[in-house]
């Protein structure tokens, strides 16, 4: 679905090739196929061209060329996003930043690092490990996703309960604006006077410009961990435990829940030793100074037992702890054992509404005759129900879409949100008018017009007024969370 006539496409390709070189441009239909979607596979569209700049100067020239030729453009990292944030609606130029992958500066003394947007999340933490530091946001896709993509989507992960989301760890940006001008917001020092432009650009899903340099906060590694596995007869007992832990003033590094159905799949795949008849298990991890952890671990154990935990086990060694986390982070991979296709959602509810929303999910599943399993960031109230189905049967697909919709509606009724960490992208545009009034949305659009008045950068994203109407007919979110 290109916006371009053949002649102008050839002209565009020539100009872009002159900027980035012949080995940094893709134009053939088969090459472009890879770039037709991200982890949201319902809607697909090929870009006209994909370019791989290696410097901010090249990004500027690409953006200026797109403006001169009136061609839409959008940035892309590793394409692991789950809401269609890097779907090239209307075609145009996709600016893939994966070759801008240098770690430019690290200062442990001043607790920051400067990276290019294509640096893979985990590389940064691996790079910092010898000095005892890490980059705190750790989405489950961290082996592939980029820091630029994390900033664009304000990524979360299992450790956000204690450490916050990406925006809490981004200090500044070098941004190529949609008209090709370059601006630095924030930087290595804190509290620059004026508006926190960095804060609002993070999470803007590529609609305010293209980051070419990112100043991030680096965090000291915890001295020690205690990782506990609570085994419960019922989901309610598990969620009450979560609520009581928080109520007792303990902020665990992570609080993850797996229900019975997903446990069975994970156990079949990894043989961790999960009891197959348990209603739910909780992975409860506290981190910090060794001196204080034992007390926290004992209190958590007591709270779990008070909530009828059948057993509370402890990871006895670092290898046991890593195995437990492997089972959690790869849980989605194990779902393939349960059904030929699956699709997940990203709703958020206030933590205390977890028992309610989990019951509702079961009710909605039963109503639509769907099996739904749950593995999610329970401490944040961020649910990821996984609906099992067979995508070859269109009638099942419709039921999945309907159930997804009802689950998200229920999250809104609970005072929550339709997305905790995956973003609006194109997938959830229709929910924006349910979350926000026309006046609320107008304020956001006014902000966008300060950065992106022509709407040429990442068009048709986030806002219903952007003009794209996407009618989902297939369900297909597969990526790990």
């Amino acid at each position: 679905m290109s916006a371009l006539a053949l002649g102008s496409r050839l002209n565009l390709v020539d100009q872009l090739r002159n900027i980035v070189g012949a080995d940094a441009i893709l134009t053939s239909a088969s090459d472009l196929l890879v770039y037709e979607c991200d982890g949201f596979t319902i809607e697909k569209n090929k870009p006209d061209v994909v370019v791989f700049p290696t410097s901010p100067e090249q990004v500027v020239q690409i953006v200026k060329t797109c403006n001169e030729l009136d061609v839409p453009f959008l940035p892309r990292g590793a394409g692991t996003s789950l809401a269609g944030g890097c779907l090239p609606v209307g075609g145009g130029v996709m600016i893939a930043l994966t070759r801008m992958k240098r770690i430019l500066e690290v200062s442990c003394r001043d607790r920051y690092a400067v990276v290019e947007p294509g640096v893979v999340n985990k590389w940064l933490s691996d790079h910092l490990k010898p000095q005892g530091y890490h980059f705190a946001p750790d989405p489950s896709s961290q082996g592939a996703c980029t820091v630029g993509g994390n900033a664009a989507t304000n990524s979360g992960g299992p450790h956000t309960l204690k450490y916050g989301v990406t925006v809490n760890h981004v200090l500044g940006l070098e941004l190529v604006l949609p008209d090709g001008r370059v601006v630095q917001t924030g930087g290595a020092v804190e509290d620059n006077p004026g508006y926190d432009l960095t804060g609002v650009i993070v999470g803007s899903e590529g609609t305010l410009g293209i980051a070419t340099k990112i100043w991030v906060r680096i965090t000291r590694n915890p001295e020690a961990y205690r990782t506990l596995l609570g085994i419960f007869e019922t989901v309610d007992d598990a969620t009450n435990t979560i609520s009581d832990i928080i109520g007792a003033g303990i902020i665990p590094g992570a609080l993850e829940m797996l229900d019975q159905l997903i446990l069975q799949a994970v156990e079949a795949a990894y043989r961790f030793g999960f009891p197959l008849d348990a209603g739910a298990v909780l992975i409860m991890e506290v981190d910090g100074l060794e001196a204080g952890l034992e007390a926290d671990a004992e209190r958590i154990t007591a709270i779990a037992r008070k909530n009828n935990a059948r057993d509370v086990r402890r990871a006895a060694s670092e290898s046991e702890r890593l195995l437990l986390w492997k089972a959690r982070k790869n849980a989605f991979g194990a779902v393939g054992r349960l059904a030929p296709s699956y699709c997940t959602q990203d709703g958020v509810v206030p933590r205390t509404k977890l028992p309610h929303i989990l019951r509702e999910i079961q009710r909605i599943g039963a109503k639509h005759q769907l099996r739904i399993c749950n593995v999610f960031h329970a401490g944040d109230g961020n649910i990821h129900p996984i609906m099992l189905f067979d995508e070859r049967i269109p009638e099942q697909v419709q039921r999945v879409l309907q159930a997804s919709h009802e689950i998200l509606e229920e999250c809104l009724k609970c005072g929550g949100s339709v997305t905790g960490e995956h973003g609006i992208g194109v997938e959830k545009i229709d929910f924006m008018p349910k979350l926000f009034t026309p006046e609320d949305l107008n304020m956001m659009l006014r902000l966008r017009s300060a950065f992106n008045p022509e709407g040429r950068c990442s068009p048709a994203k986030m806002f219903p007024t952007a003009g794209a109407c996407i009618e989902p007919t297939k369900a297909g979110r597969r990526a790990a969370l």
Partner: protein, 416 residues
């Protein structure tokens, strides 16, 4: 809404002040004045009204202190939604009943309001361990230039729907709209706390700070005070700090076991580095020093109060350079964050103040930083670089202001 009283606002002279008792009244007020193109100056507890460029356009004041209700406090979710006019003292009191808090140090908390601290991005010594307001504001409502109440964010701790407009309002000095309601993420109160004040000689300040940055302990506060500040603080509370040329105050908050261990460990690590004495204040005995460190930026005896932001590694040098300008200068640095607050000038002339600001800005810029005026008279501020050196993104901020408040109604002239 009646014209309740008048207000002297930072050199603007007397302006009429309105005290809306509902958001509807506030919205009406904004709509009426917007259509007449009258400037609107939002007011909270009035603790930071000397901050910013003195405004020159006559207008009205809008006092938000009647909008002070707690809308929702689901303690188990560790969030609270409150109206902007609530004082921080009342907010913290309520949170304490559930053993929770907003871990931001706020001076004059009995007057300062929630909306006010957000508009001015207030912070204090605990920011080293607990961050700043940008880490706690998860939802916001504002009355915009069209007199509509609009919102962003939400009431859940994790939410990426739409632009995070909350961030834009933190530190915006009321120039983008009037904050009416805020949802905050909260933290549990720590079980135990301690402050350790370490006296030291000039040459050992930076080595000590560097060592603390890499310490086996995990401080939540890393403040630095110079001799004049130490002397003034000890006059408030006798013997609080060791009498030394410099003092580093290290704060811990955690469970009982972790705080005890950190105290021991810190004393071991500092062995030999604290020639100037060492005061350990654990539990409730730490309260008076916390209080002083929190209130320091609000001291008003001096004619000029500035705030520098620099790299943490450049903070000690900056402070030492700054003290050469005047031996009476009182300095507090949140050294782990590179933030420095300085009070100077009982007998200072304006020319000297200008010269000082120039020098300070030069030294801060060597550590990638800047210096702004936090408090001074309107008369002086008209001749001082209130926002320090110009930044490269100022034009973009002006564009944002132009889009969200095209008639320049809210706090005109304060920021730009």
């Amino acid at each position: 809404v009646s014209d309740q009283h008048c207000y002297l606002l930072d050199g603007l002279g007397s302006i009429p002040v309105f005290q809306p008792s509902s958001v509807t009244e506030l919205a009406d007020l904004v709509r009426r004045n917007a259509s007449a193109n009258v400037a609107i100056y939002p007011l909270g507890g009035g603790t930071m009204l000397d901050f910013g460029i003195p405004p020159t356009r006559k207008g009205i004041g809008v006092d938000l202190r009647n909008l002070n209700q707690v809308v929702d406090y689901p303690a188990r979710d560790m969030t609270i939604t409150a109206q902007a006019g609530i004082t921080i003292a009342r907010l913290q009191e309520l949170l304490a009943t559930e053993n929770q808090r907003l871990p931001i140090n706020v001076p004059q908390a009995d007057r300062a309001t929630l909306g006010g601290i957000i508009a001015t991005n207030t912070s204090g010594p605990r920011r080293y361990g607990c961050g700043t307001l940008r880490d706690y504001v998860i939802g916001i409502s504002v009355v915009n230039d069209q007199g509509q109440e609009v919102k962003a964010g939400g009431r859940v701790v994790k939410n990426v729907a739409g632009y995070d407009m909350c961030k834009l309002f933190i530190g915006s000095l009321g120039t983008l709209g009037i904050i009416t309601q805020v949802t905050l993420k909260l933290k549990p109160r720590p079980e135990e706390q301690a402050l350790v004040a370490i006296g030291c000689e000039p040459e050992s300040v930076e080595p000590l700070l560097e060592r603390l940055q890499a310490s086996g302990t995990r401080p939540v506060c890393l403040d630095l005070l110079n001799e004049s500040a130490i002397r003034a603080i000890n006059q408030h509370v006798k013997g609080l700090l060791p009498e030394a040329p410099w003092a580093v105050v290290v704060g811990f908050e955690d469970n009982f076991q972790a705080v005890c261990w950190q105290l021991q460990r810190l004393i071991e690590e500092c062995h030999g580095a604290c020639s100037g004495g060492l005061n350990v204040l654990a539990g409730v005995t730490a309260e008076p020093l916390w209080k002083v460190l929190t209130e320091f930026p609000a001291w008003t005896e001096k004619r000029l109060t500035f705030k520098a932001n620099a790299l943490p590694s450049g903070t000690a040098l900056f402070c030492q350079q700054a003290t050469t300008l005047s031996p009476e200068m009182q300095l507090q640095a949140h050294a782990g964050n590179g933030i420095v607050i300085g009070h100077v000038g009982e007998d200072l002339s304006m020319d000297q103040a200008q010269m000082m600001m120039r020098k300070l800005i030069g030294w801060a810029s060597a550590a990638q930083g800047n210096v702004i005026v936090l408090r001074s008279s309107a008369e002086w501020k008209r001749h001082l670089p209130v926002w320090g050196a110009r930044r490269g993104d100022e034009w973009l901020m002006r564009t944002v202001k132009g889009k969200l408040d095209p008639r320049n109604l809210f706090n005109p002239g304060r920021l730009f």
